[in-house]
């Protein structure tokens, strides 16, 4: 799949300074589980995202340590307080160390 790692992020269209905004994000990723033999032993490691970091204006505001219990094409929504006009960056890291990054700007209207 060529689109693995494609990230969508959504912030409200109009934000006022000091608002608490909900940010939604979606990344295309199969979150593949390790295959298991008939005794239930894992073969290989699978391929899934295990770290998500959210930065707002350079500071880490949230970090998620997730596992295989997250659905394919992981979706996360969280809230931050829009105190300044700055970009919100999300960095996803999979278990093989590959990173996927995306950012949206928080702008005041």
């Amino acid at each position: 799949m060529a689109s693995i790692g494609k990230i969508k992020m959504r912030v409200p269209a109009t934000i006022k300074r000091g608002d608490v905004v909900t940010i939604k994000s979606l990344i295309l990723h199969p979150m593949k589980l390790p295959k298991r033999d008939k005794d239930g032993n894992a073969i290989g490691e699978g391929d899934y995202i295990d770290k998500v970091q959210v930065r707002y204006g350079g500071k880490v505001v949230a970090s998620f340590e997730v596992g295989r219990g997250i659905s394919a094409n992981p979706f996360f929504a969280f809230r931050i307080k829009a105190a300044k006009a700055a970009p919100v960056t999300m960095v996803y890291t999979d278990i093989h160390g590959k990173t996927f990054k995306h950012q949206v700007d928080i702008k005041f209207s």
Binding site: L33, E65, V66, G67, R68, G69, P74
Partner: protein
């Protein structure tokens, strides 16, 4: 149906019939309600699985976990048709500084779904995500407050098709 006035006997008969019918159905409904409640009660506190108990011990040691229903809100579907994608939402009802949220699918092969840490700029701990559930089980969320206390909330979710196969 044409009503026959004056034919008292018949009228009363019909009335008693209707009355009995309503009374009967009300009883029946009450009965089934009690039965359903009974099931819900029985399911409310099943023993915690070995894996989950081990996981909780590994993460929190012997720290007590208090009931967090007053502070936390957990939204889950009652019935998840597909265990592969179960939307959950965790919300903090009372403004409480929360450091981390730990989400568990109680009967998953790996019960810990994720740890979600929130920094100062994150306004309260709000989280919505999709998780996998292997079987019908409770989704449990343990929140670690800034002062180190632990609180939890859990919801039963019925899963029609498991999500952790293979």
């Amino acid at each position: 149906m044409k009503r026959v006035f004056g034919d008292k006997g018949k009228d009363i008969d019909r009335r008693t019939f209707v009355r009995r019918l309503t009374a009967g159905s009300a009883l029946l409904a009450a009965g089934s309600l009690v039965a359903r409640r009974g099931v819900a009660w029985a399911k409310a506190e099943p023993p915690v699985s070995k894996e989950l108990a081990a996981e909780l011990k590994r993460l929190f040691g012997n720290r007590p976990i208090a009931d967090g229903k007053a502070i936390l809100g957990l939204e889950t579907p009652q019935i998840a048709e597909n265990g592969r994608v179960v939307p959950i939402t965790v919300e903090v009802k009372k403004p409480t500084p929360i450091k981390s949220l730990y989400v568990f699918g109680e009967k998953n092969p790996v019960p810990l779904v994720g740890k979600f840490h929130f920094g100062a700029a994150a306004e309260s701990a709000y989280l919505a995500t999709n998780i996998r559930l292997a079987k019908s089980s409770r989704v449990r969320v343990v929140a670690e407050l800034k002062n180190g206390n632990l609180i939890e909330i859990a919801n039963q979710v019925k899963v029609t098709i498991g999500g952790c196969g293979g």
